[in-house]
Amino acid sequence: MYLQYTYSLITMEFSPQRLSEGAGGVSCLHELTLVQGIIDSVAETAAERGGRVQSVKIGVGELAQFDVRLVRKLLQDLKKGTPLEGARVTVETEKSKVRCLGCGRRWDFRELSGPITVDEREMMHFLPELLNSCAKCPACSKSYFEIDEGRSVRIVEVVLDA
């Protein structure tokens, strides 16, 4: 039986729960998968290069709509017993930067004129690039734009000691 992290929308708190006990909040398995992937990747890099992990910087793109506190909490819990255990881990939100290829306007997620539905938010939670499927440029109303920054979770920097 494994633990599932749940995120309570009411208390805004995170807690691990056994699946058999039923989830009391929103499933965070996607975040869990990504955070575990980050830890595995950093550990792999450290093993390949033979250094001790001093610090790791993680960027959380706002388009994927993760809660930064949740990512921090998961990293804090899951890094135990891994090469990241003693490392300083910082997590920061990365604002979205979108560039319209039609009119040249640069805009971000918060400037959208039309509403994004719950279904569309959920879709972008997994595949942020699908912003193109549900949004239009606030200046020219075309869906012909490119996301330059702020997509999903990424490793910005890993510092290893020599």
Binding site: L29, E122, F126, E129, L130, N132, C134, S143, Y144, F145
Partner: protein, 256 residues
């Protein structure tokens, strides 16, 4: 992360042509179904991000379930199907720049296929980022099946794809002629289209599958079972029988 995801996948088969409309998606879906019916553990990755069709062919819809180790592709008749359309749900996908490739990478990184004997990949038309990404996979055994019609337009594009594959890490398992109209006469590259390509590149011609109107009837009805009972599927099974058997043989010794 993608390498780790594919570590438990024995073989990856890229079904490609370079050109649209030659039947890659139906071949990919049918071949996946044939493999599953043979008792193989099979996944179908829809890499045609702009024009996804695998989910539609298998009647799969709705966001994939979130599992302990990633997204769980829906299982349709023993085939695990992953497609961007499970997320986009019929919406247009007007991606610019690297968007399609980013989505492909995300799907590969997030999907928990589990252990597979074969991951069939329905490739998009063209020889852009996605083809370059998938032909550069570092996971072990990646092969390509090149599908083409007999006409000069199709064989000319298939020729380009074969040229790109030549000497690379991806082995071309063969050429498959599809929707062949035997009365059409001479093909493009070489006298008989697919045969000429096979001869020129020194790869097997696995078959020339005739046009079968039952395929479009089955697709229109959304009945994968009907598709798998068609003459087309029987011909495909015959053409790819050796490849499927090689997966079965390889699998026989490793299963508990």
């Amino acid at each position: 992360m993608i390498d780790r995801r594919l570590a438990k996948v024995r073989r990856v088969l890229l079904v490609m042509s370079g050109k649209g409309g030659v039947g890659k998606s139906v071949v990919s879906a049918s071949l996946s179904g044939i493999m599953a019916k043979s008792g193989l553990r099979v996944g179908l990755m829809d890499a045609d991000i702009y024009g996804p069709s695998s989910a539609l062919l298998f009647g799969a819809h709705g966001l994939p379930a979130e599992g302990e180790s990633g997204l769980v592709p829906p299982d349709r008749g023993g085939v695990k199907v992953m497609s961007v359309d499970l997320f986009a749900a019929g919406r247009p996908i007007p991606l610019a720049g690297s968007g399609a490739n980013e989505i492909l990478l995300e799907l590969l990184a997030l999907t928990d296929w589990g252990e597979l004997d074969c991951l069939v990949v329905d490739m998009p038309p063209a020889t852009g980022d996605i083809m370059m990404t998938l032909t550069s996979l570092r996971s072990g055994d990646v092969g390509a099946l090149v599908v083409t019609m007999t006409d000069r337009l199709s064989t000319t594009v298939a020729h380009r794809v074969l040229e790109l594959l030549k000497g690379g890490d991806v082995a071309t398992i063969g050429i498959l002629g599809n929707m062949v109209r035997y009365s059409a006469g001479k093909g493009g590259k070489g006298e008989q289209g697919p045969r000429g390509l096979a001869s020129e590149f020194g790869v097997p011609l696995l078959g020339n599958l005739p046009f079968d109107p039952d395929v479009s009837r089955a697709v229109d009805r959304g009945e994968m079972g009907m598709l798998l009972k068609s003459k087309f599927a029987r011909d495909l099974q015959k053409a790819l029988g050796g490849y499927v058997a090689s997966l079965s043989l390889r699998n026989a010794g490793s299963r508990p």
